[in-house]
């Protein structure tokens, strides 16, 4: 992520953004980039509008252009009413929306977002997602990192799962789910601790196409959930609950990266 933004130099290999080498064309690349940092990096002493205008100036917008663009983006981020407040008065969700608006000041070809909704409450998160989908519809390419698999599934056309610095799987979210987990997941909540869960998993594993253990729960992967639920019930295992649900990207993530945690 930092290498794309030209704030970290590649230690090996090569990286091109818009066909330009990050080692040599940092300025030209950054001119076409919008970056939303994970931590709040707004200028606290300035108002909401001033933050936008000043940022626009870094991209050589004239003052008039920057002010006009700031007004458009204040509307986009629904921050018009707060335009003249200092940013420290804004809620976390508003600050994040302002960060996104700021990144859009110079009409970037690529928007880079580092965990754009980490630490936000559900309403604020949905407000951010809504903005990002609007941008997607308008054709703004986005790269984002996230720990929320739900977020990746909602927003992304293509997902790369990275584990210890290596891409372990890549593709459209539904395709990854289909490839690594299947259609459905039966969740077993065992009446005991992790050791019992592992014992249960061994007994039930034969019935499913794959399985994962996460703490005191067992996830069985399958294409026919109803059938599997019946067969698990027939085993009369010490379970507190059996839940059938659709397979998600989270299951893929656990399957591909979870093992290390267990060992």
């Amino acid at each position: 992520m930092r290498m794309i933004c030209c704030t970290a130099r590649p230690t090996a290999g090569s990286l091109r953004v818009f066909g330009l080498d990050v080692r040599r064309h940092g300025r030209a690349i950054k001119r076409q980039l919008g970056v939303v940092h994970q931590s709040v990096t707004l200028d606290d002493a300035l108002t909401v509008r001033e933050n936008l205008v000043v940022y626009g100036r870094y991209f050589d917008l004239t003052w008039a252009e920057a002010r006009r663009r700031a007004d458009e983006l204040l509307a986009f981020a629904e921050l018009e009413a707060r335009a003249d407040d200092r940013v420290s008065k804004l809620s976390g969700g508003m600050q994040r929306r302002l960060m996104i608006a700021r990144a859009l000041m110079a009409n970037p070809r690529l928007l880079v977002l580092d965990e754009p909704t980490t630490g936000l409450d559900p309403q604020a998160r949905h407000a951010v997602w809504d903005r990002l989908r609007q941008l997607k519809r308008r054709g703004v390419t986005q790269i984002l990192t996230t720990h929320y698999m739900e977020e990746a599934e909602h927003l992304c056309d293509r997902v790369a799962i990275v584990d210890h610095g290596r891409i372990v799987a890549e593709g459209p979210p539904r395709e990854l789910v289909d490839r690594y987990v299947g259609r459905e997941v039966v969740e077993l909540q065992v009446a005991g601790d992790g050791a019992l869960a592992r014992a249960v998993a061994e007994q039930a594993a034969g019935l499913a196409e794959g399985f994962e253990v996460a703490g005191d729960r067992v996830f069985l992967h399958t294409r026919d959930g109803e059938e599997l639920v019946h067969r698990v019930r027939a085993l009369r295992l010490p379970l507190e609950a059996v839940v059938l649900r659709r397979a998600t990207l989270e299951d893929v993530f656990l399957r591909l990266t979870g093992r290390r945690l267990r060992e």
Binding site: K30, H37, S39, D43, A45, L46, V54, Y58, D60
Partner: protein
């Protein structure tokens, strides 16, 4: 490899100016009141016993020296505490280097802004003391230029320290081991003639000594005496300017 653009540095300078205009009322007293207190205490208190130094009224002697130190403090606070907070706590620099601006632009912009504050504080102080008849020559009109050049020197040194310091707590050492000794031994309060030769030699190597001498020379109408002092400051400014740029790049770019 340096990656510097004058336009980028100017944009950063403009940003600081905008912030300064909003926080003017809080930041001016913190840097400006201190020399005023010294002037009142020493100029009036000590000045009552000590009428003249080097043929000048003591209050005029001290006031011109303090104008030089006001300029120093303006640049120094900017490039120590202010810069550190923006860079470490607010993370503003991290955001700015993902725009077309480079780490070098930020460093040079910050130094130029520190120098600008040096001009603002030094000149403001001079205007106040001018009311007491301390300024006796129109050559004093050249002093903002001297404060700018010396501001570049103080800013580069301060920003270089800021770029390498592991903690904000170490700034107390920057002040107690560098700024305060300079403040006391640059001939602001007393001429250095009576001190051992090595003190005078050491003082020659510090920037404030030269700013004080240049300020007095211009305020009292002996401009020729200011020339070597200004040359010293300009040379050091040019030599030091790339240092904080390189250090800040190392700190900001992985």
């Amino acid at each position: 490899m340096m990656d510097f653009s004058p336009v980028g540095a100017f944009r950063f300078w403009q940003r600081n100016l905008l912030i300064f205009r909003k926080t003017f009322a809080f930041t001016v007293p913190e840097n400006f009141l201190e020399p005023v207190v010294y002037l009142l205490a020493l100029g009036l208190g000590l000045g009552a016993y000590l009428r003249e130094i080097q043929g000048l009224p003591y209050v005029a002697f001290v006031a011109t020296g303090l104008a030089a130190s006001a300029a120093m403090f303006g640049a120094t606070f900017e490039c120590t505490y202010n810069a550190y907070v923006q860079f470490y706590y607010d993370r503003s620099y991290d955001a700015i280097i993902t725009t077309p601006l480079s780490a070098e632009d930020v460093a040079v912009g910050e130094v130029l802004w520190g120098a600008t504050r040096s001009v603002i504080y030094g000149t403001a102080f001079l205007l106040v003391v001018a009311l007491f008849g301390v300024v006796r020559s129109l050559w004093a009109l050249a002093l903002p230029g001297v404060f700018f050049v010396s501001g570049v020197v103080f800013s580069t040194v301060a920003l270089a320290f800021t770029a390498v310091t592991p903690s904000i707590d170490l700034f107390t050492y920057y002040f107690s081991l560098w700024i305060t000794p300079m403040f006391m031994f640059s001939g602001i309060f007393f001429p250095l003639d009576a001190l051992p030769g090595w003190v005078q030699t050491a003082a020659w190597f510090t920037p404030l000594y030269h700013v004080v001498r240049a300020t007095r020379a211009l305020a009292f109408g002996t401009p020729v005496a200011a020339v070597p002092e200004v040359l010293w400051l300009a040379a050091v400014a040019v030599v030091l300017l790339p240092v904080p740029a390189a250090l800040l790049r190392r700190r900001l770019i992985q």
